[in-house]
């Protein structure tokens, strides 16, 4: 702990010790795409007056380096700090930049690398995010959708059959374990930030919308290369952290209504997911807005074809629409196991939802009309959500669905080989395949049924159907994909046939969570004493590195271990999004 503090101080180049020093955003070691927009902010503790501070970039006045005028805010938001701001800054010239901020005898220093991009290599980028996609999800998806005989898999996943691979680290500026907002923000902006933040550094601002912004790849693609097309496709609510990361700037991912406005500001050509209530005026029953804006109407007025079913979506593509807003559920779109096999969840309420594969096909159809190329982000969101709810089977089926969507993009890319395809999680979950549960094994406790080592016999799921899904999931010998971190809950060791697992319910104190007793009644249910804090209601993200696979022009840059921010850099480099074109 001490060592790290010392290293931190050293990196900040602090001359004086003791009181908290000024903070400079972007933070030190930031990699900034040449010509990308960002907000430059320095916070001075003790709320000094403007005359008491001095700021330079490579020894020069920041305003002249960053091309915008500065503003000094004494006692910002009434707090005990003053702020120096240059909003909408840009640096066109690649190179090393040293920023110094002095207040009396206290000086803070940060280093930035501004990177340019060589000639454009890729026309298009498709970024596949398996939310929470960890190694065990990939392994399990391969076992169920390809089968395994005598220790050898009977086929490859589309995501595995790619020439380049890297280990990706996901920690944020504030903590070793991060969330989907900060994780996605690293991919879409190239800057690390903190939990809950999208497209901003986490400064002292009171309003969640005022923090120092950094430009997203969605915004960059729209204004560079003559105006590329942008697609955002998910099966979560479209306002959720991962899709929002393509367009949003907020310290708080829960700002759903603001995020809808940000989608409308950036105008990705394809926007597809769930989460319609935040698009509806508050006077409409079912709305979650707090104003009278009807964003479906606004998008329609801007030339978007609005679709709410699979049939409408496919018709829009056939009719040649160039802009599509698809909202297929009031909440998340149902996952593959419910959508295709069990018909649980909200399938009866929303009987014609597309799956991620059909969404991806339509998105590629629509976006590829733009001669300037496109950036498409496709997220299989519920791998994470089902891992939170300790629902292994649903997480595995949604990994198979992700793989099917990747196959669609690979087929698209094979025609011209001008598309960079990247597949990666955004953060890990603590999941591991420990063995198999076998109903035939004698014993009257769940743990008696768990086969480990030589007893972890191959599971007996039926051969997968044409889409790669085994049509029976509650088989007698099934994968034991277990979770390393959990609240108090009852483990049944079986798939949840009646709907997603709800492991906990809120306790009477309104703060902590207790086991959902519904599952404790099931035969062989094992009561687990949680190892997480009592406030936790579900499984949690972990700091484990992720496996990234990639193919197409620019993918050779993925190798060894990389910070998650490098995914942005590889995409920006492949597309030539830097200044000076």
């Amino acid at each position: 702990m001490k060592t790290w503090t010392a290293l931190g101080v050293c990196l900040l180049g602090l001359v004086a010790t003791g009181a908290q020093a000024q903070t400079i955003y972007p933070l030190t070691r930031a990699e900034i795409l040449a010509g990308s927009k960002f907000d430059f902010k320095v916070e001075f503790p003790g709320a000094p007056a403007q005359g008491a501070v001095k700021i330079t970039i490579n020894g020069q006045d920041p305003a002249s380096v960053l091309g915008q005028s500065a503003k000094f805010v004494e006692k910002e938001d009434g707090g005990d700090h003053s702020a120096y701001w240059i909003r909408g800054a840009q640096i066109a010239k690649p190179g090393a930049y040293t920023v110094e901020a002095s207040l009396g005898d206290k000086k803070a220093t940060v280093q930035w690398e501004v990177f340019g991009t060589p000639e454009r290599k890729a026309k298009n980028v498709v970024l596949f995010i398996g939310d929470g996609l960890s190694v065990a999800h990939r392994t399990a998806a391969r076992m169920l959708s390809k089968g395994i005989t005598e220790g050898r898999y009977n086929g490859e996943l589309a995501m595995d059959d790619m020439p380049h691979m890297a280990l990706v680290s996901t920690s944020g500026t504030d903590a070793i374990v991060t969330d989907s907002a900060n994780a996605m923000s690293a991919y879409t902006t190239g800057h690390k930030s903190c939990v809950n933040a999208l497209g901003v550094y986490c400064a002292k601002n009171k309003s969640t919308l005022d923090h120092p912004k950094v430009e997203t790849i969605g915004e960059l693609a729209k204004r560079r290369n003559g105006g590329m097309a942008v697609g955002v496709v998910t099966n979560s609510e479209i306002e959720d952290a991962t899709p929002a990361g393509m367009v949003a700037h907020t310290r708080r991912r829960a700002d759903y209504n603001d995020i809808v406005k940000m989608f409308h500001d950036v105008k990705p050509d394809v926007i597809m997911g769930g989460g319609s209530p935040n698009f509806l005026a508050k006077s409409t029953p079912g709305s979650k807005r707090t104003d009278d804006e009807d964003y479906i109407k606004k998008f329609e007025a801007d030339g978007y074809k609005f679709v709410s079913t699979k049939q409408e979506m496919q018709a829009a593509a056939q009719a040649g629409s160039s802009k599509v807003l698809g909202l297929f559920n009031t909440s998340n779109i149902d996952g593959a196991l419910d959508l295709k096999i069990l018909k649980k969840g909200t399938v009866s309420k929303f009987p014609d939802q597309p799956d991620l594969v059909e969404q991806t096909k339509v998105a590629l159809d629509v976006l590829s009309k733009n001669q300037n190329g496109f950036v498409l982000m496709v997220e299989s969101a519920r791998i994470d959500k089902y891992s939170h709810s300790l629902d292994s089977e649903r997480a595995i089926y949604d990994t198979i669905m992700l793989d099917n969507a990747i196959k669609v993009a690979k087929d698209f890319a094979a025609k011209k080989e001008d598309t960079l395809i990247i597949v990666v999680g955004d953060h890990a979950h603590g999941v591991s395949i420990v063995g198999t549960y076998d109903d035939e094994t004698p014993g009257n406790q769940l743990r008696d049924k768990l086969g480990i080592y030589a007893d972890s016999k191959f599971p007996n799921y039926p051969a997968p159907n044409a889409e790669g899904y085994p049509e029976k999931v509650d088989v007698s010998r099934r994968l034991a994909m277990l979770f390393t971190a959990y609240p108090d809950y009852c483990e049944t060791g079986r798939p949840y046939m009646n709907g997603e697992n709800v492991p906990t319910v809120k306790a009477a104190d309104g703060k902590t969570y207790v086991a959902n007793e519904e599952y404790c009644k099931e035969p062989l249910a094992a009561r687990r004493t949680g190892n997480l804090p009592l406030e936790s209601n579900s499984g949690v993200h972990t700091a484990d590195d992720l496996v990234l696979t990639a193919m197409g022009p620019g993918s050779e840059q993925f190798k060894a271990r990389m910070e998650n921010t490098r995914v942005f850099r590889v995409m920006a480099t492949a597309l030539g999004l830097g200044a000076g074109q």
């Binding site: 809950n196 079912g286 709305s287 979650k288 559920n329 929303f350 309104g510």
Partner: protein, 144 residues
């Protein structure tokens, strides 16, 4: 469909045939007749019961303030919601309860039956800015 229709006509007839004294039981399942992506439609029975005394069972959500006359009633106990920090994360079919008198809200997470006057239609709470579609006001509740 048929069952619901017969049920709602029955309810209207019941209302017409006698002064509404005993509270009508309503249920989360029958608040809306459709849940579309472009919005919901209130069920005919809920519209007909506007302004009447009703009773609804559900789960008391953890209150926004400890001592209050205002809380949210949900169909299921609130469970998975890793980043529940705003009302944007509430389920869409919540019912807002305004109690007759300020009460310590000790029953969070418990199944309760709420009785009071039914209000239907979009409304924004002046204090909290909370938007609701269905409310039960001048209400009291008991554990069930």
């Amino acid at each position: 469909m048929l069952t619901r229709r017969r049920f709602s006509i029955g309810a209207v007839l019941a209302l017409l045939s006698r002064p509404a004294k005993a509270a009508e039981w309503i249920a989360f399942d029958t608040l809306y007749k459709s849940f579309g992506v472009r919005g919901f439609e209130f069920s005919d029975r809920i519209v007909a019961l506007k302004g009447q005394e009703v009773t609804l069972t559900g789960y008391m959500a953890p209150p926004l303030r400890a001592e209050s006359t205002f809380f949210v009633l949900t169909r299921e106990p609130l469970a998975i919601c890793p980043f529940c920090q705003s009302d944007a994360d509430w389920p869409v079919d919540i019912v807002v309860i305004h109690l007759k008198a300020e009460t310590p809200l000790v029953s969070a997470g418990a199944k309760i039956a709420v009785s009071g006057r039914l209000e239907v239609g979009s409304s924004t709470d002046p204090d909290s800015g909370f938007v609701s579609q269905i409310r039960i006001v001048d209400a009291s509740y008991r554990r069930v």
